[in-house]
């Protein structure tokens, strides 16, 4: 984390100190969880301004030159001499540095947001996702399973640990501005921060087969108490079901919740 910020800051020094402000906005603090979706919106608008300025500049210059230097009777035109060596080098080096500075400015900001997107807060709900043609299968820490509906409490970051049983899928939540592939043989993860109760679309974002466009689901963000009640009720049902067909071995629920991990987990799981 710190190392990244340092390098980021180093790159930034090249791009000019005025932009240093932008870099600090995404640093997540321990007591306040950064919201990647908000960070995305911010960076997007920033980059949009950047490319709009460049685009308009080039387009205006182009249009001006087209009109100004169109062939007119009686006006000499064309046949401009080659640039002198100094001018040629200047016209190569200076624009190159301007583009490079802009690139590094954008890259530094992008990196900062990336760190937030990949740094999962310690206090979180971890749900396992197995995708398949064509459904999303979620397993909660207490063993409760749901299909195509991911119920989560408001105000708590959610980590999805993902794999796939057949082709490559992609768990995309447009409202949370995040997606990541799930595929057989590898484990990937993403996290998002549902703040308010509500319903959000989940849709498959990687071509996975004939019914790709119909592979959708829902994130249902519930008030925390309501979620807790649902979670415990489902957990109890599961226990009862497990106990019913005699006490056989190995059907106990999986690991207990992982909340309260001692250190911040900023690496990917696999």
């Amino acid at each position: 984390m710190n190392k990244h910020s340092k390098i980021g800051a180093g790159l930034l020094a090249l791009a000019g100190s005025a932009q240093a402000l932008a870099l600090d906005k995404y640093i997540p603090t321990t007591d306040r969880i950064g919201d990647p979706a908000a960070g995305w919106n911010h960076l997007w608008s920033e980059v949009l301004v950047d490319i709009t300025i460049m685009g308009v500049l080039f387009a205006v210059v182009l249009a001006y030159l087209m009109v100004k230097f169109r062939r007119r009777p009686g006006v000499e035109g064309g046949g401009v001499k080659e640039l002198s060596v100094g001018a040629a080098i200047g016209w190569a080096i200076i624009p190159a540095f301007i583009f490079l500075a802009d690139d590094l400015f954008v890259a530094a900001n992008g990196w900062q947001l990336w760190n937030l997107q990949r740094t999962v807060p310690a206090d979180r709900l971890e749900v396992r996702l197995e995708s398949g043609m064509y459904s999303w299968d979620y397993t909660y820490p207490n063993g409760v399973r749901t299909q195509n509906v991911l119920k989560v409490p408001a105000g708590k970051p959610v980590l999805l640990r993902m794999t796939s049983r057949d082709t490559i899928h992609n768990h995309y939540m447009p409202d949370f501005k995040v997606k990541e592939d799930s595929m057989p043989g590898r484990i990937t993860y993403l996290w998002f921060y549902p703040k308010e109760p509500g319903k959000h679309l989940v849709t498959c974002n990687e071509y996975c087969g004939v019914s790709h466009s119909y592979m959708s689901g829902q994130v249902e963000v519930m008030p925390p108490e309501q979620y807790q009640a649902w979670y415990e009720e489902e957990g109890a049902k599961l226990k009862a079901a497990a106990a019913a067909p005699a006490a056989t071995e190995g059907s106990a629920p999986a690991a207990a919740p992982t909340a309260g991990a001692a250190a911040q987990d900023n690496k990917k799981p696999a």
Binding site: F69, K177, P184, G185
Partner: protein
């Protein structure tokens, strides 16, 4: 005209025209696929076909045929074959028979691609053919593999041929720094093709091995890795974007110079910084196609920086283009209109690529309509308009006749307007709603109904534009008014011979004066 003479020709000009005919045919077929898809998407739910697989086959055919059958062959096949020997004052390419062989391979590839519409189990693996889907689908992955292999092989042969041609067959007095910019761009393209095509061939071949021979190259349970395919595929296929991009820059650069009657602004920066900068960086940016696949974080960040750095060579070439107009004497015939159109479309397409280079922004944008809009701006419309501007430009040389200007302009207006209507809307929908691409149906996104209709209308407009253009070419080739040897008053070498040039191009090989340059418009 004798058909046999054409089929068995070794003349680079005829090979070039064969490439043009084949790639334009591929363009028409793939374009019809696009119109079918737009019709399907115009309303929610099934409209044209009730079977998503049919749609997926159109999707496959559109992507694969446009890239492999149209853009790459039109630029590195048609434009290179027709113009390179003329531009460097050679009587033909270095290996004329090999050249003929490559055009045959290309035709076989196109025919194989068109078999998609004949066989009962057409491929539905997109032009990317990602496993595991491509190894478990009931579609015919082998057809995809062999199409890629044939056209790839044609490309390798052409690469060997053109690199040697450019390196050793220049006319006396034509030094490296006097080459047309287009020649440089083709050289850069073929260097990339030669280096990277074998990697693509390997990847697609191994997929078919996995599917038909039961190997486990990409089978994750047996020690394979599904991401290895994506890495190999994009290791070629991102450079492939530049294989298309460089010659299209080359064409419009030469057109800008000719129609501004001006030298190329800062030629050396555009060549050594632009072309070779791109060739060098091209192999280090493929991860931006894998930003959301779970590649290691450091790799995704590292290649974000290299991807953004592509803006430096591209920027240098753009400055050269813009600077060429400065103090020029600009006329706006159809080739120049298309070239200027390319320039504006590329401006939009290129700049909207910057957010996609940023890993953290792509986490939302990847695989949405935004991406589709972006690369259609760059490749589909800027690229195609550049190709067509080249066809318009060399049309008098090829046929000895002029294209009808009025209809040329009308076609341009339709194309330019239609392109913006579709692809601007597309990017907008992608960012605002996150509508994913490759969807047969957008039932989950009822809010995009209006935009989908607008895009479909745009596709009709652009379709009309292209149809007028093609008709105009055919009619002008037959009935157009006679063109002289040099209707655009260009200084470039290809305009010093007759239109159309005789076999061997010049009665005597041209010898160039010391102060000759393809851009020597300065009055002495």
């Amino acid at each position: 005209m004798n058909l046999k003479e054409w089929v068995f020709t070794t003349d680079h000009k005829r090979v070039g025209i064969l490439y043009l005919i084949g790639s334009v045919a591929a363009f028409v077929v793939a374009g019809i696929m696009a119109l079918l898809m737009r019709a399907e998407l115009s309303a929610m739910g099934p409209t044209l076909t009730a079977n998503p697989t049919t749609y997926n086959v159109w999707l496959y055919a559109h992507g694969a045929v446009m890239i492999l059958g149209f853009q790459i062959p039109a630029l590195t096949g048609f434009a290179a074959n027709y113009a390179i020997p003329l531009m460097i004052g050679a009587k033909d390419v270095a290996f004329p028979r090999l050249n003929a062989f490559s055009v045959w391979l290309f035709y076989m590839g196109v025919i194989l691609a068109l078999l998609t519409f004949v066989i009962p189990d057409p491929p539905d693996v997109l032009w990317t053919g990602y496993p595991p889907y491509s190894t478990i689908t009931t579609g015919n992955t082998a057809l995809y593999t062999f199409t890629v292999l044939l056209i790839g092989f044609a490309s390798i042969i052409a690469g060997v041929n053109f690199i040697t041609t450019i390196a050793y067959m220049r006319a006396k007095g034509l030094t490296w720094n006097k080459l047309n910019f287009f020649v440089w761009s083709i050289l850069g393209s073929f260097v990339m093709q030669l280096i990277y095509v074998p990697v693509l061939g390997t990847a697609v071949l191994l997929v078919s091995f996995d599917k038909y021979l039961g190997t486990h190259f990409f089978d994750p349970t047996m020690g394979g890795d599904v991401l290895t395919y994506q890495n190999l595929f994009w290791f070629y296929s991102h450079p492939a974007v530049y294989v298309i991009f460089l010659p299209f820059m080359g064409i419009i650069m030469d057109i800008f110079a000719t129609f501004s009657k001006n030298r190329i602004f800062n030629y050396k920066a555009a060549v050594y910084g632009g072309v070779w900068g791109i060739v060098i960086i091209s192999g280090e940016v493929w991860i931006h196609h894998l930003y959301v696949t779970g590649m290691p974080d450091w790799l995704r960040i590292g290649q974000m920086v290299t991807t953004l750095m592509i803006s430096v060579p591209v920027g240098l070439m753009t400055i050269s283009l813009v600077g060429t107009l400065y103090k020029g004497s600009i006329t706006f015939e159809t080739p120049m209109l298309y070239a200027l159109g390319t320039m504006f479309l590329f401006l939009v397409g290129g700049l909207t690529g910057i957010p996609l280079a940023v890993t953290s922004l792509t986490v939302n944008l990847s695989e949405t309509y935004y991406v589709v809009g972006h690369f259609h701006y760059v490749m589909a419309v800027a690229g195609s308009l550049a190709i067509f501007s080249g066809v318009y430009y060399w049309f008098p040389k090829m046929t000895g006749r002029m294209v009808n200007e009025t209809w040329g302009r009308i076609a341009f207006v339709f194309t330019f307007v239609g392109a913006n209507v579709i692809f601007w809307t597309m990017m907008n929908v992608g960012v605002k709603e996150g509508l994913p691409r490759r969807y047969y149906d957008w039932a989950q996104f009822p809010q995009v109904a209006h935009d989908q209709m607008v895009m479909t209308i745009g596709s009709v407009i652009i379709g009309i534009g292209f149809a007028i253009m093609l008709l105009n070419w055919i009619l002008s080739a037959a009935f157009g008014k006679k063109a002289g040897d040099n209707p655009w008053e260009s200084k470039s070498l290809e305009w010093t011979t007759a239109s159309p040039p005789p076999h061997g191009n010049w009665p005597k090989p041209p010898v160039l004066a010391d102060d000759w340059s393809p851009y020597a418009y300065a009055k002495r």
